[in-house]
């Protein structure tokens, strides 16, 4: 028997895979996140990170920021499919290396260590707005805001100091200058 392959038609050569950040404005109603996430899983798209919260209390609009990877064709489909969902108002998309866009992720690191190590840790993180949320004699919680790859690196660097727990958000994004996403 021939080996198992994708069931439908032969896979077409895909275009270059790129990281994209997709921002979706939705009505904050029951099940809306499941609709968006289900669309991704159901159609075989990838979610690298996801951040969501209500941004307009009056109109109950939530803003979902999704980091995904895909060929240009796949990214185009993601946008078109998202726009078909009834609670979706608008969709913006840009590449991760887009200079006009600001991204940030927030991370909390819990490290076991004395005050000496605390100072050391702060130094390692100094470029990324380190804030001690809690300091005890034996442990501390440090908050940083940075890009994904920087946080990856910080986690590695903090490991030898006694990092025992990491919690991080998905990326959020904002345009530079006076413009907003349209």
């Amino acid at each position: 028997m021939a080996k198992s392959k994708s069931a439908y038609s032969e896979p077409v050569k895909a275009g270059k895979i790129d990281h994209h950040i997709i921002v979706v404005w939705v009505d904050n109603e029951a099940g809306v996140l499941a609709r968006v996430a289900g669309l991704f899983s159901g159609r075989g798209y990838n979610i690298e990170s996801l951040a969501v919260a209500e941004v307009d209390k009056k109109k109950h609009i939530s803003r979902i920021t999704i980091v995904t990877t895909g060929s240009p064709e796949v990214i185009e489909q993601i946008k078109l499919q998202l726009k078909k969902l009834i609670p979706v108002h608008k969709v913006a998309d840009f590449k991760r290396n887009d200079k006009e866009i600001l991204f940030r992720e927030l991370a909390l690191f819990k490290v076991l260590g004395n005050s000496k190590k605390q100072e050391k840790a702060k130094k390692i993180c100094k470029k990324f707005n380190p804030v001690f949320l809690e300091r005890t004699k034996k442990s501390f919680v440090l908050q940083v805001t940075a890009l994904r790859r920087d946080i990856d690196k910080l986690a590695l660097d903090l490991k030898p100091l006694g990092l025992i727990s990491t919690s991080r958000t998905g990326a959020v994004a904002m345009t530079r200058g006076a413009k907003t996403f349209s």
Partner: protein, 588 residues
């Protein structure tokens, strides 16, 4: 202060305001308050199915043959899960369907209550949208929005899940129209610009080897779209081919019509698609059964794609001109613009496309739908041809199940009007045709409705014969009985070394006796010589009929593009069943 209505009353008031006349359903604990209210609304007739899937397909048949949304009513839990196949079918084939489901009372949701399931969770990926109504004052608004979502843009199914306590509670009723349009801001779409039309017309004028490739979008756009299409095709003199779902939009016996295209399409249609220099896709979606091997799909053509759904454009095939529009709107604008500027297009163009037409004639000479007839056994193609000849003057409505019989029906039954052909294309649901015929007959009580069926498919929803008898629906179930799941058997023969694994049904019922036990009429035809007389007998019976047409067991459906092959590499008949490559075998 306006009068307060119970949730159940609100449901019916909304149905009345949406001009609903028929609902297909099955009662159960969690929808009893709605069923209780039924007696107070004489304008709405409820059709009791024998299974919720049957109710769903009946609603689909009703919708597709009438152009109105189909409505179904089911209970919670198993009622809702049984409806899933019909909802998915409607989603794939763009059929407007409104499903109302009962749910356990609000305070029991999440407790694994009796007949509870996460209905909105289960149906989320197979509906355009769904709602769990937790506030009776939002019920009216939700009902009307549901109808709007189902029928706007690319049509499709929606579901409203109503907990039992909400059906009892009193709330306000208000009929709000067109809520969606404001919110969709541009999603519904969008006037076609003159610039786009001019590019379109320019491409038409430059083409030497054009072809129209049309689909279900024309049917969904309404009968007007079919008229406009016919006008455009005759104005240009171009050849036209249609997908399975588009059959009937253009007359099947017209000389410009090349027949259906795709996996079991005609030799001329598929070769013309492969060799054309201009492909005009109107309301079709480049489905994998149409394109075959995507990289080798019509390699040298410019492509125009008209579709109401923006996500259909560029999904499978890149096109040169994409227009997001309702088909009628586009055709109207295009024809107007075309006629203003090109008074004598047809005459001036005849010469340009004459070589193309002579090439098409050569392909036609292959007569790819031919088969070797027999005077001993009934060939299934012959049976469909005879059925067509004996019913073509009657404005007949045809539904089908899924498999070989479906393809033979598509190939040999020539439709000349839209909304006369109801078949499960996208999902390929065996068991679709019988309940769909029930729905069609409800919508068209005086018309002849025939389900061209296979014996395996029809057994999946056979219980709906009981529905047909109850409502005196004289549907005709025309079974091409070869005792095999024919299409499965065909693939096993061609692709799996004739290992007929589990595709033979060893213990079939006696369909004539089965018909009698349901209280309808059974007819059996075994030889070609008795076929015509028996078909005529069937047509003349004013009751549901099961027609057991015993056909050749080994017949295969040709022509065929094996999976993974381009359009110009068709198998035409048994003598050409060459070795199919290993890569071809793994494809569905």
């Amino acid at each position: 202060m306006p009068k307060l209505l119970s949730g159940a009353q609100i449901v019916f008031q909304a149905l009345i305001d949406q001009k609903v006349e028929h609902i297909f359903g099955y009662p159960g604990g969690a929808v009893l308050p709605i069923y209780d209210e039924l007696k107070n609304h004489k304008t709405i007739k409820h059709i009791l199915a024998r299974h919720e899937q049957g109710a769903g397909h009946a609603a689909e048949g009703y919708a597709r043959s009438s152009g109105k949304p189909g409505v179904m009513l089911v209970t919670s839990g198993p009622g809702a899960t049984n409806a899933v196949t019909a909802l998915t079918d409607a989603y794939m084939d763009s059929v407007p369907l409104v499903c109302i489901s009962g749910q356990v009372p609000t305070h029991l949701i999440g407790t694994d209550a009796f007949q509870e399931c996460d209905t909105t969770g289960i149906t989320r990926p197979c509906t355009k949208h769904n709602w769990l109504v937790k506030d009776v004052n939002k019920l009216a608004e939700t009902m009307h929005l549901a109808f709007e979502v189902a029928t706007t843009g690319r049509p499709g199914p929606v579901l409203i899940d109503i907990p039992k306590d909400i059906q009892f509670k009193k709330g306000k009723y208000k009929f709000v129209k067109n809520k969606l349009k404001k919110k969709l801001n541009g999603k519904v779409i969008n006037k076609v610009s003159n610039n786009e039309l001019d590019i379109f017309i320019d491409m038409i004028k430059k083409s030497k080897r054009p072809i129209f490739y049309t689909g279900g979008g024309i049917i969904n756009s309404g009968p007007e779209a079919s008229k406009l299409l016919r006008e455009l095709v005759s104005l240009t003199g171009f050849p036209i081919t249609s997908t399975l779902q588009g059959l009937g939009a253009y007359p099947g016996d017209d000389p410009q019509f090349l027949g259906m295209l795709g996996m079991h399409g005609t030799f001329e249609a598929n070769n013309a698609m492969h060799d054309c220099d201009l492909m005009i896709n109107i309301g079709a979606r480049f489905d994998d059964r149409i394109t075959g091997k995507v990289d080798e799909f019509s390699p040298n053509s410019k492509k125009i794609h008209v579709d109401i759904d923006p996500s259909s454009i560029g999904k499978n095939i890149k096109v040169d001109l994409a227009i997001v529009s309702d088909v009628s709107n586009l055709l109207k604008a295009l024809l107007k613009r075309f006629k203003e500027k090109n008074k004598n297009f047809l005459d001036s163009n005849k010469e340009k496309t004459s070589q193309w037409w002579s090439q098409i004639s050569k392909w036609r000479e292959k007569k790819s739908l031919n088969f070797i007839n027999s005077d001993k056994v009934i060939k299934p193609q012959h049976a469909v041809q005879r059925l067509y000849e004996l019913t073509k003057n009657k404005d007949t409505f045809i539904t089908t199940e899924v498999g070989q019989h479906q393809m033979w029906a598509a190939q040999h039954y020539k439709f000349d009007k839209p909304n006369r052909w109801m078949t499960s294309g996208g999902l390929g649901t065996m068991g679709y045709g019988l309940p769909a015929a029930v729905g069609v007959q409800i919508a068209h009580p005086e018309k002849l409705v025939i389900d061209i069926a296979g014996e395996a498919s029809v057994l999946m929803t056979m219980q709906e014969m009981s529905t047909a008898v109850q409502y005196r629906l004289p549907i005709k179930i025309f079974i091409l009985n070869n005792e095999y799941m024919g299409m499965v058997r065909q693939w096993q023969e061609l692709l799996h070394e004739k290992n007929y694994s589990e595709s033979y049904t060893a213990a079939l019922p006696d369909f004539v006796k089965l018909a009698e036990s349901y209280g309808c009429v059974g007819i059996r035809a075994k030889t070609p010589s008795e076929l015509d007389a028996k078909i005529n007998e069937m047509i003349n019976i004013d009751k549901p009929v099961i027609f057991d047409c015993v056909v050749d067991k080994a017949e295969n459906c040709f022509p065929m593009i094996p999976s993974g092959k381009p359009h110009n590499q068709m198998i035409l008949g048994p003598e050409e069943e060459e070795e199919i490559s290993d890569e071809g075998k793994v494809l569905v």
